[in-house]
């Protein structure tokens, strides 16, 4: 008799979990561990003193404080703007709603370098807000962070809001509660988990922002992430970089634990009831006004980007777009448009990798279990795959270079390294999209299938795949967009002969010449259009009531 029954199922699950664990282990833990090892054992001896010294430096304190306060302020602003917009876009009915939703999502999937560039175009002395003299100030960074993250709030809260039962609110109103009182006493408490979840994710994104701070922060302002970059890439001060990385990871783990607690619900099994959106009423006016303002605020930098890409020496021109066919005077070994093709190919691979891993992870962590140990190990597993969110792209990028240099893992020049790294970055997003959907499946559906004679695979196909395929496609779209825009880790491991578009844009920015700058803007516009199209399709595929992260 073959191994069957319960033991077999458990072994199968274990084997299944082993795949993503191994991938994350090799491509994440190993490289990051190698970097930390070099930092903490500088000359082969463990030297915690160096780490403590770094933490005692006044600059370290300033960097930490700057990271905390900008992230906090940006989070507060993003939530303040995002809540009314979430309401308008998910509870009200008006023409063009899907388009506006997709438009507001665009900044989030734009490469951070492009976000930085767009905001810069806006606040540069020659820009629309040039007179405010914001260039190089913390305000510029805040604008960039909010621009980038407001979409997260809108989406996460909006999704919760659209599946919120209308009746308790109506009951409260019938008892004499004013609209504001209804919001305060009924609606907001019900939304709170989503708001907390969104706020913590935004905080996390802000605190680990790299490209935005790099482009907008100048040299005066440094966040933990850019400081790690500086310490690693420019100063080779690995002990200091390791110290900051540890602080960052500890903070992220703490945040994830807190979020996990706040987000946990007693019964994840749900039947999603989506309340039909209603026509706007007069009392929705303030919310609509905020939404329009947010839309304008999000559109302005993008507009500045488009305008900048079409102007040269004070007149309109398509020259920058024509330059995409070239190699920027030999700056690259391939033309800019070929770089876009390379990006797309890499994104295809990163997408299937992220989906495959994400699907397996989601599947494993949503299996029901009775023992406390089982539940705990799944929670740990769940958190494990969120870790890439909280580790500096620089650490990961350099880690790849030093950890993956021995056969059979000499992957430094493998064309698959970039998509693998991007898949790791997209993985948390995929998992966050799929886990609620799979957790929402009544386990007895699977048991019913099994009792009718369906094997594990067949059960998967009948029950899980039936509900998960649309969110899976949506997650695929996001993974694709994230991969297209990923800059941090990619910039360290991309093969010089095959740069991705964000890397090309960043390099163009680093090279003198109005044409190069204009070409960078044009390439950013093209990248934005491609990602926006992907997102628009994703938005169509989305199952109402799911898809938050």
């Amino acid at each position: 008799m073959t191994v069957g029954g319960r033991t077999g199922a458990r072994l199968g699950l274990l084997a299944l979990a082993a795949v993503p664990v191994a991938v994350v282990g090799v491509f994440f833990v190993l490289p990051v561990g190698a970097m930390l090892h070099r930092g903490l054992w500088p000359d082969g001896d463990f030297d915690p003193g160096a780490v403590l010294d770094v933490l005692a430096r006044p600059r370290t304190g300033r960097v930490l404080w700057f990271t905390v306060w900008t992230s906090t302020v940006a989070t507060v602003i993003a939530v303040t703007l995002g809540l009314p917009a979430a309401y308008v876009l998910h509870r009200l009915r008006f023409p063009g709603r899907a388009l506006v939703r997709a438009a507001l999502l665009v900044p989030f999937v734009l490469p951070t370098v492009v976000v930085g560039l767009a905001v810069r175009e806006l606040i540069a002395p020659s820009g629309i807000l040039g007179s405010l003299d914001l260039d190089g100030t913390p305000v510029a960074i805040l604008i960039g962070l909010v621009f980038f993250n407001v979409a997260v709030v809108i989406r996460t809260v909006g999704v919760a809001w659209e599946s919120l039962d209308r009746r308790p609110g109506e009951a409260a109103a019938a008892l004499g509660a004013s609209p504001w009182q209804v919001f305060r006493t009924v609606t907001f408490p019900a939304l709170r988990p989503a708001v907390v979840s969104a706020a913590s994710v935004v905080f996390l994104f802000c605190a680990t922002a790299f490209g935005v701070v790099l482009v907008l922060g100048g040299v005066r302002y440094s966040s933990v992430e850019t400081e790690i970059y500086l310490l690693t890439a420019e100063l080779l001060d690995l002990p200091a970089a390791a110290a900051l990385s540890l602080v960052q990871m500890a903070a992220v783990v703490l945040l994830l634990v807190v979020v996990g607690r706040l987000r946990a619900v007693a019964d994840p099994t749900v039947r999603r009831e989506v309340a039909a959106p209603v026509r706007p009423r007069w009392r929705d006016l303030p919310a609509i006004a905020v939404t329009v303002a947010t839309l304008v605020a999000v559109a302005l930098p993008v507009l500045a980007l488009v305008v900048g890409s079409l102007r040269r020496d004070g007149s309109w021109t398509l020259e920058h777009y024509r330059a995409l066919e070239g190699t920027a005077d030999g700056l690259f070994q391939i033309s800019v448009s070929d770089a876009l093709l390379a990006s797309l190919r890499i994104a295809v691979d990163a997408t299937w990798m992220a989906l495959l891993l994400g699907l397996i992870v989601s599947f494993v962590v949503t299996r029901r279990t009775h023992s406390r140990a089982g539940r705990r190990s799944r929670a740990v597993l769940d958190g494990f795959f969120m870790l890439p969110l909280g580790v500096s792209a620089v650490t990961l990028g350099f880690g790849f270079l030093i950890a993956l240099d021995e056969p059979p893992l000499d992957l430094r020049s493998s064309p698959l390294l970039v998509p693998i790294a991007q898949a790791l970055v997209a993985l948390p997003l995929v998992v966050r999209t799929l886990v609620p959907v799979l957790a929402g499946v009544d386990d007895r559906q699977r048991q019913a299938a099994a009792s009718l004679g369906a094997g594990p695979l067949r059960t998967l196909a009948t029950v899980d795949l039936a509900v998960v395929w649309r969110p899976l496609l949506a997650a695929g779209g996001f993974a694709f967009a994230v991969s297209l825009g990923e800059f941090g880790a990619t910039s360290f491991i991309v093969r010089p002969a095959e740069p991705t578009l964000p890397v090309v844009i960043y390099r163009l920015l680093g090279h003198p010449g109005a044409l190069n700058y204009g070409t960078a803007l044009a390439a950013s516009v093209v990248l934005a259009v491609v990602t926006a199209t992907v997102i628009l399709v994703v938005e169509r595929l989305r199952v109402p009531g799911t898809g938050a992260w």
């Binding site: 005066r220 440094s222 690693t232 030999g330 030093i402």
Partner: protein, 356 residues
């Protein structure tokens, strides 16, 4: 049903994408790119992003030597050296170009290079790295980092131009100076080194005065020169750049340059090439590349392509260079070994001053 059609289309597209070879998996990989045990006909040159040599010269090299040359532009100059140190003994190429004299000692000390002593063209010896007894690095080009002033702007404003480093702290030049950061830019570090050489232990005081006098610190040379410098439409007429820069700021008639380099307080940068130490290094190919970089053709191509001076004398400079650039007779230099040793401490102190 539109959504349904759309989803079907998306699904089909995804399947087609995978099946039709858009994935990297289906593309054939040319393998090693010359890294790690490649055939000996391939040689990979690792360099920084600013590297540029005309394609004809590359083709000529390949024809003459039979090596297939891959040029791998990794990062900026500082990051380049650090990356070499991190990947020591398992380098991502065979030969490196672009390690400058502020980073050279680190590269030598960390044993990332293998000895090679080519026959140097005349004039190149004076640029050899002091203290490099093992012939790890070969000088290829040089250029001085100097303060540049927009002479046209000063003439128009009727203000006398600053003449030396000391003038930059003069209230007459308040808010007129822009400098790339020492932490993130190699000209920035060169300028910091020059001030340390000039002012000794008082350099911190000098920088405090600079900051008090409104000096603007930006991330890189590009930002400083192309965004803030008045010549490029910015609002600061004093910038840290190179002694060759005035050759690129001619007036419309091409009769004279609208900027000039202050010859006081310059720092002389030298860029080196070296063979990367590693089991699989194509040593022969690496030697060929270094010889090629020293050849009269490449040396002559350096000024127009990379805005630097060749180390070989007797190479004819472009006409504009000969006419409009002036090289400092004396530069503020510190021993590379001392720079390597103290750089990090300096940058930390400097960071403190400018981010206060």
């Amino acid at each position: 049903m539109r959504a349904r059609v759309l989803t079907t289309i998306t699904g089909l597209t995804a399947a087609t994408l995978l099946a039709s070879g858009c994935s990297l998996l289906s593309s054939e990989d040319d393998g090693s790119d010359g890294v790690g045990g490649a055939a000996d006909t391939k040689v990979t040159l690792v360099t920084h992003e600013s590297f540029a040599i005309p394609d004809e010269l590359v083709a000529e090299f390949e024809k003459d030597t039979g090596f297939e040359l891959t040029i791998s532009k990794l990062a900026d100059a500082g990051t380049l050296t650090n990356q070499l140190v991190l990947t020591r003994s398992k380098p991502v190429g065979d030969v490196v170009f672009g390690v400058d004299n502020t980073f050279a000692t680190r590269a030598v000390d960390e044993d990332v290079l293998e000895a090679y002593a080519p026959e140097l063209p005349s004039g190149a010896e004076e640029f050899e790295l002091p203290g490099d007894d093992e012939d790890a690095l070969t000088p290829i080009d040089t250029g001085s980092v100097c303060v540049n002033v927009d002479t046209a702007w000063f003439r128009k404003q009727g203000i006398p131009e600053p003449q030396d480093l000391g003038d930059l702290t003069d209230p007459a030049y308040k808010d007129l100076f822009v400098v790339p950061a020492a932490s993130t830019s190699s000209p920035g570090l060169a300028f910091l080194t020059a001030t340390i050489s000039r002012y000794g232990d008082d350099w911190t005081g000098y920088w405090e005065d600079l900051v008090a006098n409104g000096a603007k610190v930006v991330k890189g040379w590009t930002e400083a020169y192309f965004e803030d410098f008045t010549f490029s439409g910015g609002d600061r007429p004093i910038v840290v750049s190179y002694d060759s820069s005035p050759a690129f700021t001619l007036n419309k008639a091409g009769t004279r340059s609208t900027t000039r380099a202050l010859l006081d307080g310059c720092f002389e940068q030298v860029e080196y090439a070296g063979v990367l130490a590693g089991e699989d290094t194509n040593v022969e190919g690496a030697h060929a590349v270094i010889d090629w970089l020293l050849s009269p053709e490449v040396q002559a191509a350096l000024p127009p392509s990379m805005y630097v001076f060749p180390v070989a004398d007797g190479v004819e400079l472009p006409a504009d260079w000969a006419k409009f650039t002036e090289r400092p007779a004396e530069t503020e230099n510190l021993a590379p070994a001392r720079i390597a040793e103290e750089r990090q401490g300096w940058i930390e102190e400097w960071n403190e001053i400018i981010s206060r």
